[in-house]
Structure formats: structure tokens, C-alpha cells
């Protein structure tokens, strides 16, 4: 029993010591933070006029001057923060002006030093700032840190910094390939990171789509701008429809249908795909194309097994003027499946409701009245006063 008591006493002493230490740390953190915040506010007010000067003359050809007053460490910190805030929100030659100003102030070199020496979040802070400042010379150091960084969030931040700093497309290729190798699959986030780069990445994306590596293909597809895909790209995308991975097929079809309407034969091929996601995407796209020839295809799609295909087919039909509207009424009245009928009726009702809120005497009201007439002719109005 005695040893138990001894153990207990020891335990109590250690706990008390830890508690006291914890409270001291807390108080120090709190007061230090308060002091720093107040200092920063004071300095921000002091440099307000200078920042206004920078903002007013960002578009001049001449480079901006550094402040005439002597700058202490915290002055530099405050200026850096404020100028980075601005750099994040502007683009084009203004960013270049700011980059030149950053270099004049000696900030990138400072951050590069911090990058190489400090651990943890402070290193990531430096990486982030270097990216925001667009300091090209930091790229090699950033790459070596990317190798060393083990936590996920940190890797993406460093990857972004590389994207914003480097002026060479091959660096971007290396960065993305490294991230794809060592991080869990996240094509969209990588595409987002890639999008931060001021360089033209289209050649890189082309390369990846044709590479045969599905992970890189997914990154490329997430990074492609939806409109204005040229023919070679579209051809590559069609090849990807044969890929083994479902996600690749889905992303490929999403891009293919995002532009101009594909030919009727191609539509038939796509709608015969075993993936419901592919069929649904195509059904949705037909609503954007509004080509009367597609109406029969959509009507057939209303018999699809997948609820989502039917849903998008119905929505597309109501977008196709009075003809599409009538086709949907046809489906709603003829189909034996309750689910199909419900979906069709729901979309018809919503379309009529939207028409009503558009108002009388406004352009297109003839068509709207036409739709209403069609609707009445198919469905007995007496029972449904719901409209």
C-alpha cells in the first residue's frame, strides 16, 4: 500500500508541475501574441501611405521605390504581408511589378533563408510566401523541401509554391509527377495547383492525356479548359473512352460533350456505354446543345435503367422548346413505369412554373402558351389543380 501511495504522490507532483508549466506557456503565448498584433497594427498604420503609393502606381512602367524610412524586421514583415495580400489579388504585369518590388526589399532572399533553416509550419509559411511573391530562384530549394515533406497538407502548399515560382514547364511536369507518385490520388487538387501557374500548361496536359498513365490523364483532364478543345485533343479523349478506369472514361466524356455538339453517330455510341455516368453526362449535354434531332434519343433515354439518366434526359427535353416539351408529355403519358412518369411529370410541372414566373407579354410568351396547351391536351386538368 505504501508503494502505491508513493506512486500516487509522485504522480501528483508531476501532474502539478506539468500544469504549472502549461499555464506559463499559455500566458506567454497569449501576451506575446497580443504584443505582436498591436505592433503590427501600429506599423500597418505607419506604412499605409506607402501602400497607397504602391497601389496607385502598379501599372506604371517604372519600377516602384522602396520606402525611404529605415525598415526594421517587423516593418519588413508587415510590408511583406500587406504586399502579398495585394499580389494575391492582381494579375498580369502588376504582379511582375510587385515581384520586382519584393526583390528590391530583399524579402524573397529572407524567406529563402527561412525556408532552408526552419522546421514545420514556419517552413511552410516561407514556401507559401515565396509562391505568393513568385520568386523564380526559389524553385530548386522548394523541390528539395517537397521531397522531405511528409504531411499531406504541406506537400500541396509546397507544390503550389513551385507552380507559382517556376518559369519552366518541365519543372511543372516534374512536380506533378512527384505528387502523383507519392500522394494519394487527387487529380482535381493537382489540377487546381497547376492552374496557379502563370505558364501555359496546355502542351503538358496534351502529353499526359496521351501518356497512357491514367493518373496523369486524370490530372490533365481536370486541368483542361472546357471550351475550345482542338481536334487532336478531342481525338485523344475519344481514345480514353476505352480506358479501363471508370473515372477516366467519365472525365473524358465530360470534356468531349462540353464543347460543340458531337455527331449523331457518336451520340449513339456514347449512349450505348455501359457506364450510367457517361449516359447521364451525355443526356445532360443534349440539353445544352438543343438540337431537335436529339429528341428521339432523349425519349429513349427515359427508359434507361439508371434514375440519373432519366433525370437528365427529362431536364434536357424541357429545354428543347415546344417540341421537346411535347416529347416529354408523350413519354409521361405512355410509359408503364411509375418512376419514369413521376420524373417526367415533375420536370414538366417545373418548366410550366418557371414559365409562369417569367411573366406575360415578355418575349417567348407565345411558346409558353403553346406548351401549356400541349400539356392540357395530354393530361386531364380537372383532377390536377396543383398548377
Amino acid at each position: 500500500m505504501f508503494q502505491h501511495l508513493q506512486a500516487a504522490y509522485l504522480f501528483l507532483i508531476v501532474s502539478s508541475a506539468l500544469i504549472v508549466a502549461g499555464i506559463i506557456v499559455l500566458l506567454c503565448l497569449k501576451y506575446r501574441h497580443l504584443y505582436v498584433t498591436r505592433e503590427k497594427q501600429r506599423l500597418a498604420a505607419k506604412h499605409q501611405d506607402y501602400i497607397a503609393y504602391v497601389l496607385s502606381h502598379l501599372d506604371e512602367k517604372q519600377p516602384l521605390e522602396v520606402p525611404a524610412v529605415p525598415l526594421g524586421k517587423r516593418d519588413l514583415q508587415v510590408l511583406e504581408e500587406k504586399l502579398i495580400e495585394i499580389a494575391e489579388r492582381v494579375k498580369g504585369k502588376h504582379r511582375e511589378q510587385l515581384t520586382a518590388l519584393f526583390e528590391k526589399l530583399g524579402l524573397p532572399e529572407l524567406e529563402l533563408g527561412r525556408l532552408k533553416q526552419l522546421p514545420g509550419p514556419m517552413r511552410t509559411d516561407a514556401a507559401y510566401k515565396l509562391g505568393a511573391m513568385g520568386y523564380e530562384k526559389a524553385t530548386p530549394a522548394l523541390f528539395s523541401i517537397l521531397e522531405a515533406e511528409s504531411d499531406e497538407a504541406g506537400r500541396y502548399i509546397i507544390a503550389r509554391a513551385i507552380a507559382r515560382c517556376t518559369r519552366s514547364v518541365s519543372d511543372l511536369r516534374v512536380m506533378v509527377e512527384k505528387m502523383v507518385e507519392s500522394s494519394p490520388d487527387s487529380p482535381r487538387l493537382l489540377a487546381e495547383v497547376l492552374g496557379d501557374s502563370p505558364l501555359d500548361v496546355l502542351p503538358l496536359l496534351r502529353e499526359w492525356i496521351n501518356s497512357g498513365d491514367s493518373r496523369l490523364a486524370l490530372v490533365a483532364m481536370a486541368g483542361l479548359p472546357a471550351a475550345n478543345l482542338d481536334d487532336p485533343l478531342v481525338d485523344s479523349l475519344w481514345k480514353l473512352l476505352e480506358a479501363e478506369e471508370k473515372e477516366v472514361r467519365i472525365q473524358a466524356v465530360r470534356l468531349i460533350v462540353s464543347g460543340e455538339r458531337v455527331s449523331a453517330d457518336q451520340i449513339n455510341v456514347l449512349m450505348a456505354s455501359p457506364d450510367w455516368e457517361v449516359r447521364a453526362i451525355v443526356a445532360k449535354a443534349m440539353g445544352a446543345w438543343r438540337e431537335a434531332d436529339d429528341i428521339p434519343v432523349l425519349q429513349q433515354a427515359m427508359d434507361d435503367q439508371s434514375w440519373w439518366v432519366k433525370y437528365h434526359a427529362a431536364r434536357s427535353l424541357v429545354k428543347m422548346g415546344a417540341e421537346g416539351f411535347q416529347a416529354l408529355c408523350e413519354v409521361a403519358s405512355r410509359t408503364p413505369h411509375k418512376e419514369t412518369a413521376d420524373l417526367a411529370m415533375q420536370q414538366l410541372q417545373e418548366a410550366l412554373h418557371e414559365d409562369r414566373t417569367a411573366g406575360q407579354g415578355m418575349p417567348g410568351s407565345n411558346e409558353r402558351d403553346h406548351k401549356l396547351t400541349i400539356y392540357h391536351s395530354y393530361f386531364n386538368r380537372q383532377k390536377e389543380r396543383a398548377i
Binding site: 499605409q48 501611405d49 496607385s56 506604371e60 525611404a68 489579388r89 502588376h94
Partner: protein, 274 residues
């Protein structure tokens, strides 16, 4: 405006010596930096200390000072400097004055010919800005030239939650002499529109309380009772539907962030002129 200030809406009579310099610069190829300061003197009507300060700071720069005691206006002409350089020098001057407890009640910088066609007109503009109630009286105002003669100052309403964007835009747009009003969310934007009747509303889409779309819808409904003001959208949202949704609602222009400030300047000017 106080009655006392209204007296100074017309430029105070230009002293002979200043007029001489104006003729000199307008005739030559040189540019001339102009700084107008509204302040009280400390007994030294010649501002010798300030001249000395300027001489030590920028030995190669020739500067001429003109002070009118009646209006409290100090005009400094700097030989052959651009607007940016003038502004930069004005920073030093402001700090010097403040450290000597000669509070400047307003500073305005300009440069001929960047800021306008004639120095007298520039001076007029500067004086007007100094003696009107300014939004930020302690800030240094910049006169940026424009070739369009406004009947009255265009009123702009900026509906934006991000304080940095607010700062960027208000500083840059004030240079052109626009009257800038700010709102932090859609509801405040709505109130300000009713209060101020702006010519152009620049709005973000993701706003708290009442978002940009709702504000735009409300604005378009207003055209029945008031004159429709133009709407420009400057937003973080970069989805394709946003652009089409905005234009469908009758928005005049659509820009995404990060944006090019000079492009924004031009688009605003185009909207205001037409």
C-alpha cells in the same frame, strides 16, 4: 461643405511667379511634378526648412515652393518628374511635416502632363479635391489624367466583403476623381444604392446576408422607379454558369479575380462614358 471652404472652389489667384513657371513648363518638353498641400505654416512663410529638407533628400531635384497664406495652400513644383516619383517624394514630405507637427490637412499629387492638359486645370482639380470633404482626409490623393470631361463626378458603389479589394479599388479609382462608396454585403449595398444613386455598381457575387445575384435582381427591378445604373461583377467565382447567369440578368461586364487593375480601370471608364 462649409461656407469658408466654398470660397476656395475657384482656384485662388495664381501668383505671378507660379504663373511664370506654368508657362515655362507648358511651353517646354519637360514634365513637372505638382504637390498641393493644405496646411498651416509655422511662421516661416518661405518654407525655408522644407526647402532645405528637400535639397538634402534629393540634391539633384529642383523644387519650387509657393505658399498662399489666405488659403493655406502650399504648392510645390518638382522639375521633370513623373507622377509616381512625385507621389514618392510626397511621402517623404508628409512625414517631414508630421514630424514637425505641421499637420497637413490634405495632400494632393499630380504631374504635368500625365494628370491633365493644362497645369492650371490640374491645379484646379487638386484644389477642388483638397477643399472638398474627402473620404480619407489623411491620405495622399493622386490626380490621374482623363480625357473625358465629366459633368459631375461619377458615383461608384463598390459592394465587396474583402477589405483588401476594397482598399485596392478605392485607392485606384479615387485617382480618377470618382466618388467611391463602399458596402460590405448585399443588404448594405441595397441601402447605399437607395441613398447614393450611383452611376455604376461593382459587386462581388459571394456576399454575406444578401448575395450578389439577389442584389442584381433587385437592382434590375428598380429601373421602373429610378434610372438604371450599370452593373459590373468582379468575383471570385469562376464557374461558367456564373458568367452566363450574370449576363442573363443584364449585367454590363464580368471580371474574375485575380484581376488586372488597369483592365478594370479601362472597363469602368468605358461603362461610365457610354
Amino acid at each position: 461643405m462649409e461656407k469658408k471652404d466654398r470660397r476656395y472652389m475657384r482656384p485662388p489667384g495664381i501668383p505671378e511667379k507660379l504663373a511664370y513657371f506654368i508657362r515655362y513648363y507648358e511651353a517646354s518638353d519637360l514634365s513637372c511634378g505638382m504637390i498641393a498641400i493644405r496646411c498651416r505654416h509655422s511662421g516661416d512663410l518661405e518654407w525655408k526648412e522644407l526647402q532645405q529638407f528637400l535639397a538634402t533628400k534629393e540634391p539633384k531635384q529642383a523644387a519650387e515652393l509657393f505658399y498662399e497664406q489666405s488659403s493655406g495652400r502650399l504648392v510645390i513644383l518638382l522639375d521633370d518628374v513623373s507622377l509616381a516619383q512625385t507621389h514618392y517624394t510626397a511621402l517623404a514630405i508628409k512625414e517631414y511635416l508630421q514630424s514637425n507637427e505641421q499637420l497637413a490637412e490634405g495632400i494632393c499629387v499630380a504631374s504635368y502632363p500625365e494628370s491633365g492638359d493644362s497645369m492650371e486645370a490640374i491645379l484646379w482639380e487638386m484644389t477642388e479635391r483638397l477643399y472638398q470633404t474627402a473620404a480619407m482626409p489623411s491620405a495622399i490623393q493622386v490626380v490621374k489624367g482623363h480625357d473625358h470631361k465629366w459633368e459631375r463626378r461619377p458615383r461608384l458603389l463598390l459592394v465587396e466583403n474583402d477589405p483588401v479589394i476594397q482598399q485596392i479599388l478605392s485607392v485606384r479609382l479615387a485617382r480618377h476623381g470618382y466618388e467611391i462608396h463602399l458596402a460590405e454585403n448585399g443588404m448594405e449595398g441595397k441601402e447605399k444604392v437607395e441613398q447614393v444613386q450611383p452611376d455604376l455598381v461593382i459587386t462581388e457575387l459571394t456576399l454575406p446576408v444578401m448575395n450578389g445575384y439577389q442584389l442584381i435582381d433587385w437592382l434590375q427591378q428598380q429601373h421602373e422607379t429610378t434610372e438604371r445604373c450599370k452593373i459590373m461583377v468582379l468575383t471570385d467565382r469562376r464557374l461558367e454558369e456564373d458568367m452566363s447567369q450574370c449576363f442573363r440578368r443584364g449585367v454590363a461586364d464580368f471580371l474574375t479575380k485575380p484581376f488586372s487593375p488597369v483592365e478594370l480601370d479601362w472597363r469602368i471608364r468605358r461603362l461610365l462614358v457610354s
